[in-house]
């Protein structure tokens, strides 16, 4: 059984590498004049590698399911990895509808970042607490993740549209916001890099601090820029925190998570500035020439189509199935738990998106900005609500 867990991790690793390779091959199609509509060889090679990567990850999913004896969607690592897998799946489907190679170049890196982000969380197989013991665990979580993944494709397409269309000859609000999006991507990368770096050195700093009268200890895997409120550093030979986390941050891990956030933001800033220095222009401006041959109308349609396909799936998984399960496990189908509220907010947002597009003619750039905004909300629900706002769903 321990072997199976090992096999499972290896498969995930292979899938990751395959996605990475596929990204580069998709990148190669930009220069290839013949592959405009996905009928060139390079495009075929790229999508084939992607599919093999996806199947490998399905292998990871199945072996881990067997090893843990429950669907591996029960903690933050498992859920986020699954989300990455479904993002690749959604991409494959959309790819076969529209055959746009460029979409692979944008979707796969997002999936890569998500999977890398996931693997920074505890990866051991954990037992299910009684409220999670239900078939609805995997029915609800997998459907919700699939819906969110399809909506994420809309983000990738929207981003292509914006980078392609936003006028980069002069600085404007739009170029600034586009750089904010770029910076957010760099911060995620920063989180992955900095976490991997310090975990490679087995960095550990332990703090003791009071929570509601009881002394708790917490272990930092990153040097403490911010320590727990009223905390005391136990480990020796490590960095003293520069300041204490504010008192209103609750939960035993709040300060540690806040510290990680600071690290990600800082590393992201360093990476971003480096990239700006090397490129000597805005990141989006540097990418823009590569997208010249993309048909903005088609990209706009893909972005919208992804929402059209993803919205019903999201509603079913994140709201309806969630309600059925909540009714069974907690005797009420709706409890205004932060995660529930943010699923509702996501739903409201995409409902507004669809109404604006269908009835008020928000096409093209406006629609693309909305696609980016929707993804930001999804990510907020995945990352921030789990890490910052504690609730029934904060299983990590």
């Amino acid at each position: 059984m321990g072997d199976l867990t090992q096999v499972s991790s290896t498969l995930l690793y292979i899938a990751f590498v395959l996605y990475l390779v596929a990204t580069f091959v998709f990148g190669g199609t930009i220069r290839d004049k013949r592959t405009d509509k996905g009928n060139g060889t390079l495009g075929k090679v790229a999508i084939t590698i992607t599919i093999i990567g996806f199947l490998t990850q399905v292998g990871y999913f199945i072996t881990r399911w067997i090893a843990s004896q429950h669907a591996p969607v029960s903690n933050l690592f498992e859920f986020t990895t699954f989300f990455g897998m479904m993002l690749v799946f959604a991409f494959i489907i959309i790819y076969f509808i529209y055959r746009l190679n460029l979409l692979g170049l944008f979707t796969l890196p997002v999936a890569l970042l998500i999977i890398a982000y996931a693997s920074m969380f505890p990866r051991e197989i954990s037992p299910l607490i009684p409220s999670l013991k239900s078939h609805w665990l995997y029915i609800h979580v997998t459907t919700a993740a699939t819906g969110e993944a399809i909506l994420a494709v809309s983000f990738a397409a929207g981003l292509i549209y914006l980078i392609r269309q936003v006028d980069q000859t002069q600085r404007s609000k739009r170029t600034t916001w586009l750089e904010v999006v770029m910076y957010a991507v760099f911060s995620t990368l920063g989180f992955v890099i900095i976490s991997s770096l310090f975990s490679a050195f087995d960095y550990s700093a332990e703090f003791q601090f009071p929570v509601e009268g009881e002394e708790m200890t917490v272990e930092y895997q990153l040097p403490a820029i911010t320590g727990p409120n009223d905390g005391e550093l136990l480990s020796e030979g490590v960095m003293q925190p520069w300041f204490e986390a504010p008192g209103w941050m609750h939960g035993e891990n709040a300060a540690r998570k806040f510290n990680t956030l600071i690290w990600s933001v800082l590393t992201g800033a360093v990476l971003y500035l480096l990239a700006r220095l090397i490129l000597r222009k805005r990141i989006a401006a540097a990418i823009q020439p590569l997208l010249k041959r993309a048909n903005p109308d088609l990209v706009d349609e893909i972005s919208y189509r992804a929402v059209a396909i993803g919205f019903p799936v999201f509603t079913l998984g994140a709201l309806i199935f969630a309600m059925i399960w909540a009714q069974q496990a907690w005797d009420r189908f709706w409890g205004w738990d932060p995660k529930e509220v943010w699923a509702l907010i996501t739903w409201f947002f995409y409902a507004a998106f669809l109404h604006l597009r269908l009835s008020r003619g928000w096409h093209g750039e406006k629609s693309a900005w909305l696609a980016v905004g929707g993804f930001a909300i999804i990510m907020f629900n995945l990352v921030a609500v789990n890490l910052i706002i504690a609730g029934l769903h904060s299983y990590a």
């Binding site: 197989i125 009684p130 088609l298 093209g364």
Partner: protein, 544 residues
């Protein structure tokens, strides 16, 4: 009501029509309604049909109608609700703060000045606030009015449409082409290919309309009906008969009346079981160690449900008839006669009874001279013991703690019982005062001849069960189902139409879809392949 007769085809249209229902010719004086401009494409959103909201704006009713039927207003309402909902997650809502604390104090203590403001604005109960309810009600109203405003004329327009369309209508479609010298065979060919792609063909004087997926146009209205049903279901929870939500604690071995059932139902707790994962289980070892404690795997109450039979007589125990027996687990409620009991909380090892003994203070072997047992749920006032001892309970603290030097009880539940006893030794009239509890027996005066000590105790578990009866669930589920059908109908199918219009020397071809332009272009490509008909041009293509 005024009518507009089409100059071209003679069809009589209702007032406010933008495009003739039959032939699609723009009705000149109404083009401003849909923002159609000369030289630009037609706005096909509602087929140019006459919507009430765009036609009348005089009476108060008109104004209210127009306000709620506006998509702009609808989206604004959604966005306000969205932001309000987000605000509600900044700090925990009142239902998620610990019970038995003063919320005003709690928010100020935990979250400082911001928490205080949050509380004072009532944001700690945001989702049940009157203004949040009004927002939802306004969204509901908007859904109903906007849907009626559009559905009725849209349906009419699609019913009235004729294959023979006015030239101006075709030319101003997003997809359009004109071809010279087209043979009748070629037209027939295109028609048959479209038929093969499951288009429904209607013809009129050589004009062809190929149409498919019209039912997807009704998707939005179906899903809006679903939402309304859902909201009505949620509203019905305010009717007491429809929705019951209560709570009952039952001790092991006890039978308690199920609340809110008119003393009709009783529940017996045969056994409460809490299980944890085996810490040596190889599979979960690592995670359990990291967790730093046992991980529960099951909470379960083995319960029996009884129904009172016959007339209930006050003061008498009713006769009970067994209705159902089973286990209540998390995720597996026990259902009976429309009610459901959910495993929701528990209290392990609550004290049931305690047995105390009396011994001489200086007897090191603490040999019992007499002993007595106190039933903790229902303690007696006085105990007559063997050897002539008499004990009176002066004070009882079910859940004992020291409150600034004075003993007090945190609750009425015997979780940490302690007593102040008056012990009357044989023949004595003045008692000795003794304090006894778990792990403590204190001689208050320091001069007692006899000491009271704990000899034995019995414990049992208590289970906390939530009782629900919710007749609104089927309605809410129906609403969800209708919504899903509608949203899939509208999103996964598209309404596509292709018009073929014979002109003097060739044909005009125009097409419209409500979404997925890429898809309809591919179908037209397939249909015209091998004929002289030109491929439609996308007249809206963003050119950069």
């Amino acid at each position: 009501m005024k009518r507009i007769t089409c100059e071209s085809c003679g069809h009589v249209n209702p007032e406010g029509t933008v495009l003739c229902e039959a032939c699609g010719k723009p009705i000149e004086k109404n083009q401003h309604i849909d923002g159609n401009k000369p030289g630009k494409l037609l706005n096909m959103r509602y087929e140019g049909s006459a919507r009430r909201s765009q036609t009348y704006n005089k009476s108060v009713i008109d104004k209210i109608w127009n306000f709620f039927s506006s998509v702009k207003v609808g989206v604004t309402l959604i966005v306000i609700t969205l932001i309000a909902s987000a605000v509600g997650t900044i700090f925990p809502q009142e239902m998620y703060i610990p019970p038995n604390v003063d919320p005003a104090q709690h928010y100020a203590d935990q979250y400082g000045i911001l928490g205080k403001i949050y509380y004072q604005l009532g944001l700690h109960n945001l989702y049940s606030s009157w203004w949040y309810m009004i927002l939802i009600a306004m969204i509901g109203t908007s859904i109903i009015i906007a849907s009626i405003d559009r559905y009725v004329p849209l349906r009419r327009a699609l019913k009235m449409q004729k294959p023979k369309r006015h030239k101006a209508f075709l030319q101003k479609q997003r997809l359009f082409s004109e071809s010279e010298n087209i043979s009748a065979e070629d037209v027939e060919h295109v028609k048959n290919r479209l038929k093969k792609q499951r288009y429904k063909i209607t013809e009129q004087d050589g004009h062809i309309l190929a149409e498919k997926g019209r039912f997807s146009r009704w998707g939005p209205y179906v899903n809006h009906i679903g939402l309304i049903v859902f909201l009505l279901g949620a509203l019905m929870r305010f009717i007491p008969f429809m929705y019951i939500d209560d709570y009952v604690w039952v001790r092991e071995g006890e039978t308690a009346v199920v609340p809110d059932t008119d003393q009709q139902y009783y529940v017996k707790n045969k056994d409460f079981i809490m299980e944890t994962y085996d810490e040596n289980d190889e599979r979960y070892q690592e995670a359990i160690q990291k967790q730093g404690g046992a991980v529960p795997s099951n909470y379960q109450t083995d319960a029996v449900i009884y129904k009172a039979s016959g007339e209930a007589v006050t003061g008498e125990d009713p006769e009970l008839e067994k209705v159902k027996e089973g286990s209540i687990q998390v995720n597996r409620p026990l259902k009976f006669d429309g009610y459901a009991l959910y495993q929701s909380s528990y209290q392990l090892d609550e004290f049931e009874s305690m047995t105390f003994k009396i011994h001489e203070t200086d007897d090191e072997s603490e040999e019992a001279l007499a002993s007595f047992t106190v039933n903790l749920m229902d303690p007696e006032y006085e105990y007559e013991l063997d050897n002539g001892f008499r004990v009176v309970i002066d004070q009882y603290f079910p859940e004992y703690y020291m409150d600034d030097g004075t003993p007090a009880s945190q609750s009425k539940y015997p979780r940490n019982p302690a007593f102040v006893f008056f012990v009357y030794p044989p023949g004595e009239e003045t008692p000795e005062v003794s304090f006894a509890g778990i792990g403590r027996n204190v001689d208050a005066s320091g001069e007692n001849d006899y000491k009271v000590g704990l000899q034995n105790f019995e414990v049992r578990d208590v289970t906390g069960l939530t009782l629900k009866r919710d007749y609104t669930l089927p309605i809410i589920a129906l609403g969800g189902l209708i919504f899903m059908i509608g949203v899939i109908q509208g999103m996964y199918w598209q309404h596509r139409r292709v018009w073929i219009h014979p002109s003097d020397s060739g044909v005009m071809l125009a097409a419209h879809t409500n979404k997925n332009w890429y898809g309809i272009k591919r179908e037209i490509e397939k249909a015209i392949d091998g004929t002289g008909v030109n491929m439609v041009e996308d007249q809206q293509e963003i050119k950069q």
